[in-house]
């Protein structure tokens, strides 16, 4: 699936065999007054991705620097971002790859870090995405950021093509950022620490935006923080898995209790 992003990355660099822009109108019937649906989708996705999506560029730059400063070849930044495409796992994968740990350890780490995505299927709007290839790419590229953007309040009326283009752009920002970061990392002193704070800042922004959508729903963030604290305290090695299980169980219990307590009353 990395080919989608790879092709997109390569596209601007191939001047020759691609038909010149002025030849294209001869092949396609000229558009009426409205722009073509595809162009409209891409334009909408560009706008949708402009805020959080562009935040992936500094994070990708940071990742590229981390890769080469750890002693891995620069192309590992391209390889990891285009195939694995799961930010926090990629950051973890760097020390694992440097240590050449067994592949079973890589698989277990990937499972534990990303098992949270199992819960995303409850709300990610994949049912709006049409076509096997689009669905396949959409699940492949269902990152935390893509999930946050396409489950937000203002994304309720986005159709499938707009969501998939958004995902393509997000991956493009991430791969390009990491590639540039890895190639330019020799200019950055290897003693420079703290670039990985970009990930903390990204999730701070995503949490603030998601909370703004649910201002009257105080129990949800309280339950989330409690789940995180309990997970940190009791299961520090399996923090994410424990926190997501506790949070989902807590939400379900709350919903079932509210259902029996106030049957029939609207529960936002």
């Amino acid at each position: 699936m990395g080919t989608v992003a790879a092709a997109a990355v390569d596209a601007p660099a191939i001047p020759g065999p691609i038909p010149a822009p002025e030849l294209i109108p001869a092949l396609i019937p000229p558009p009426a007054t409205a722009p073509s649906p595809r162009r409209a989708d891409i334009a909408a996705a560009l706008r949708d991705s402009a805020s959080v999506g562009l935040g992936l560029v500094p994070l990708g730059l940071a990742f590229g620097v981390v890769v080469t400063h750890a002693g891995l070849p620069w192309w590992c930044a391209v390889l990891f971002t285009s195939t694995v495409y799961a930010g926090s796992l990629e950051f973890l994968l760097v020390p694992l790859a440097v240590a050449a740990v067994p592949l079973a350890t890589v698989a277990l780490t990937a499972f534990l870090v990303n098992v949270r995505h199992v819960f995303y299927s409850l709300s990610f709007p994949l049912h709006r995405v049409n076509g096997r290839l689009a669905k396949a790419y959409s699940t492949f590229a269902m990152t935390d950021e893509a999930y946050a953007l396409s489950t937000a309040d203002n994304a309720r009326d986005w159709h499938g093509r707009r969501i998939v283009w958004l995902q393509v752009l997000l991956q493009l920002y991430w791969v390009l950022g990491a590639t540039v970061g890895a190639l330019l990392s020799t200019l950055i002193p290897s003693s420079l620490n703290g670039l990985d704070f970009a990930m903390t800042a990204l999730f701070t922004v995503l949490a603030l935006d998601a909370l703004r959508d649910r201002q009257k729903d105080l129990p949800t963030p309280v339950l989330a923080v409690l789940s995180a604290l309990i997970a940190r305290w009791l299961f520090p090695e399996q923090f994410l898995l424990a926190a997501f299980v506790l949070f989902t169980a807590g939400l379900t219990a709350r919903r079932l209790l509210a259902g029996t307590a106030s049957r029939g009353s609207a529960d936002a």
Partner: protein, 110 residues
């Protein structure tokens, strides 16, 4: 440095596990989509998930060394402040990260 074959294999394994975790639950989910509990969960989960991921990033805050809390907490406050002020994700992320990098490296508070 590990050899090229190993690096590709490691990336392939991590990619396969991640994609399976993202794609397979959808197959099981179609039957549940009409459930009111699942609909309620799906409306509330995004905000909680992002809060948990933020807590995960902050899980190793050195709470027993107050001096080393200065850089992360100031950078976090800058990120939140800039975001509430301008609502520009890029500005908030870059601002918070630059403050953190400067504090950790130049001021040696980290």
């Amino acid at each position: 440095m590990p050899d090229t074959g190993y690096l590709f294999a490691a990336a392939g394994v991590a990619a396969a596990v991640t994609w399976a975790l993202r794609a397979l639950p959808f197959a099981a989910l179609n039957a549940l989509r009409s459930s009111a509990v699942v609909r309620d969960l799906s409306a509330r989960m995004p905000a909680g998930v992002m809060v948990i991921l933020l807590c995960y990033c902050l899980r190793d805050l050195p709470v027993t060394h107050p001096a080393r809390l200065v850089a992360p907490l100031v950078a976090l406050a800058v990120t939140v402040g800039v975001h509430l002020w301008r609502r520009s994700a890029l500005l908030s992320i870059v601002g918070g990260t630059v403050v953190y990098v400067v504090l950790v490296n130049a001021v040696h508070l980290g």
